[in-house]
Structure formats: structure tokens, C-alpha cells
Amino acid sequence: MSKPSQNSSLENSSPKNTSLKNSSGVIATARLIATKDLRVELRSRVLLNQVVPFSLIVMVMFAFALDSDAVLERVAPGLVWLATLFSVLIMVSRSFAVETADGALDQLRSSGVPAMGIFIGKTVALMVQLLVLVTLLVGAAVVLYRAQVSWSGGVLLVTTAVAATCGLAAVGTLYGGLAAGAKGRETLLPLLLLPVVAPVLIGATRATESAFGTNGIAISEGWPWLGLLAVFAVLFSVAGAVAFGPLLDD
């Protein structure tokens, strides 16, 4: 068996790869992580086989409980986003269960890839999945609750969905990382996450009410709520990108 070289300097030698270690490596890492997470979802189909049926069941159960077309039409926007919030909990738990089940998160840390890239990648993957979910839930609201969307309302609805899912994905990834190494993380995550995402629930519901024209609310009244969603998304995206590394280390 040959031995390692003895004449090299400890300080000078370094691993071959530095491309994922510098600032441009953040984007490469984010793309790598997002692609991996979406590929895992395509293989496991947890979103399609478990999360979507769960959220649709929640919508149907609300319909049974309220049992009034007039009430359902009025509360449809809130129910869409409530079902989304419940589903976010499952999706965030799943996203980090994949990383912790066999110690992959530790391996990611020890591979030296930027934590910011991990955060962005997981956020993007979660956002893509949430957009699919919200699209299906809006469709369910149209069918089950007789919600109506005009073309101009559709633009507001799509913009709201993008801003709200971005915020939910960012804060979900941040708190998912926080709870990943904790005992009782399954119960800890809802306790941490639900109070924080209350502004998203309020803003997205008000904006969706405008998009649906619920109670005769004008579409123009929905746009200011979009500002709240955008601020929330930017705030938690930046906070998550900065804090994710130290948070994983602790």
C-alpha cells in the first residue's frame, strides 16, 4: 500500500473544488439543491399522493362543517390559504426529514457548500411545490365554493400566489432548519411557524378576496395587501439567507 506524500505543505494544498465555495457558488449550490429536492419529490410523489389529497380533504371538510353556499363563497379565500398553511407544515417537515433521515444535512455542512445556497435552493424547491398546490386549491375553491375569477382578478391572484408562496417557502425553510436538529421537531415546527406566517394568511386572504370579488370587494383594494406579502417575502428571504448557516451550526 502506498503512503501519502510527505513533502507537501499543509497550508498550500486544498481540495480541487472551490467553485461551490465562493459567492458565485451560492447560485450553483442553490440550483443543485433545488434540482435535487424537486427530483426527490418527483420520485417520492409526496406532494401529489399525500399533501394535495390532504389539503383537498381539508377544503371538503370545511364545506361539510359550514354547510352553506353563501358562507362558503364568503370564506373561500381564507380556506384556500388556511389549507395552504396546514400543507406548508407537512411540506417543510418532509423537506428537512429528507435531509436528516440519513445524515445528509451533516454531509452538506461538511462538504463546505455555502449555507446560503442551501437555503435558497430549498426555498425555491418549496416555492415551486407550493405554487402547484395553491393552483390546485384555487381550482378546488372554484368547484367546491363557486368562487369566480375574472381576467384582471386572475392577474392579482397569480401575483398574490407568487408573493405569498415565496414568503411561506422562505420562512418555512428558515424555521425548518431551526427545528431540524431539535427534539420533538414535529410539534415544534407548527408552534414556531404558524404565528409567524399570520401576516401571510391575512394579506393573501384579503388579496384573494379582491381577486374573487368576494362581498363585492374591488380588485384595486387587493393590491395594497400585495405590498405586505412582498415585504414579508423579502424580509424572510434576506433573514433566512443570512441566518441559515449560523442556525445550522448551532
Binding site: P4, L10, S13, D102, S111, G112, D249
Partner: protein
């Protein structure tokens, strides 16, 4: 806890003096002193809870050094712990594999994190005997031994200072462990040339 060192080299790659590591509020490592030279193969022994895993995690830069002094490959563990991580591979209790992805996808993913090219990944798969029917199998369908083979994917790293820290040795016969480490050393050699 005791350490048995073999085949001493010259340069010190692990240098810990009175190292203290705390997990939560529990001192998982209380004043460990260890010196390992380049090329040495070290076997850590000790009862459960002695701090073997924490010591390895400390050396891999995954656990902060609360007190004492520590340098890994010349990098100070207090100031630049993150710099240690990509220069040290750690095989812990877990494999770090994604069970829903195939062997090839796992190796490719982890290869990308250390900058391996597609050709290097393919060569690694071939070298580890994972390029046949196993290549497209999901990890969840592999045996424990096949998972371990997939785990040794980082061998293409060509840093001369690259070291492997292995855990879970208690489940193996000591002689088998030493053979395993020698095999890993042999495996790492081509990447250094």
C-alpha cells in the same frame, strides 16, 4: 477513551490541546488532547458516551470548540472552523444518502458538491462497482454494504491533506476495521497523483 496510532509520519494534521466541546449544556468532550501526524491511522476506543463521535465531529469542523486549542490541517478550529469542513471527510453513523434517488444520482449530487466532473463521477461508480445494475437502483433498495460503497463517493477529492474520519467502528472486528481503513487509503491514492 484511548487512541492507538500506527505508522507515524511527520506533519501534524490533528492537534488538540485540552479541547472542550459542549452539546447543548452537556460537556460531550471535556479536555481532550490528541496529536495525529500525516499518514497515521488512528483507532479511537472508549465506552459509550466517552465522546468518540463528538471528537470526530470536532475534527470535521461540525462541532464548535468551546475551550482549549485545536488545529486541523493547520486551520484553527476556533477562528476558521468552516474551512476545515471541505478538507475532511467524515463517515458517521449515517450514510448521508437520499433514499428516493438512485445510486448514480446520489453520487452525482455529492460529486457536484466537491466539484467532480461527470467523467470523475462515472470513474468513481466504476471503481466502486456501482456502474452495473446497481447504478439506477434507488438507495432504499440497496443493502447496508452497498450503501456504504455509495458513501465512499468522495474519493476523487485530490487534496493531499484530505482525511477520513470514520465512526461506527464498534460494530466491526478490529482487524476488519484496519483492513477497511487501508483499503480506503489505497482507494484515495489515485486521486492524489
Amino acid at each position: 477513551m484511548s487512541a492507538i496510532a500506527h505508522e507515524p509520519g511527520t506533519d501534524v494534521v490533528v492537534d488538540l490541546v485540552d479541547a472542550v466541546a459542549v452539546l447543548g449544556s452537556f460537556p460531550a468532550l471535556a479536555g481532550a488532547t490528541l496529536s495525529v501526524r500525516r499518514g497515521e491511522i488512528v483507532l479511537l476506543r472508549g465506552p459509550n458516551g466517552a465522546g468518540k463521535t463528538t471528537l470526530l465531529r470536532l475534527c470535521a469542523g461540525l462541532v464548535p470548540l468551546e475551550r482549549g486549542q485545536g488545529q486541523i490541517l493547520g486551520v484553527d478550529l476556533v477562528r476558521d472552523r468552516e474551512l476545515v469542513r471541505h478538507r475532511v471527510g467524515m463517515i458517521g453513523h449515517n450514510n448521508g444518502l437520499y433514499s428516493d434517488l438512485t445510486v448514480t444520482e446520489n453520487v452525482r449530487f455529492w460529486g457536484r458538491t466537491v466539484g467532480a466532473s461527470t467523467a470523475e463521477v462515472d470513474a468513481a461508480l466504476h471503481r466502486m462497482g456501482l456502474d452495473g445494475r446497481l447504478a439506477n437502483l434507488p438507495i432504499s433498495r440497496l443493502s447496508a454494504g452497498q450503501k456504504r460503497r455509495t458513501l465512499w463517493r468522495d474519493w476523487w477529492r485530490d487534496g493531499l491533506n484530505f482525511g477520513y474520519l470514520m465512526n461506527r467502528m464498534q460494530v466491526l472486528m478490529r482487524r476488519a476495521v484496519m483492513n477497511l481503513i487501508r483499503f480506503l487509503n489505497w482507494l484515495l491514492l489515485p486521486a492524489r497523483q
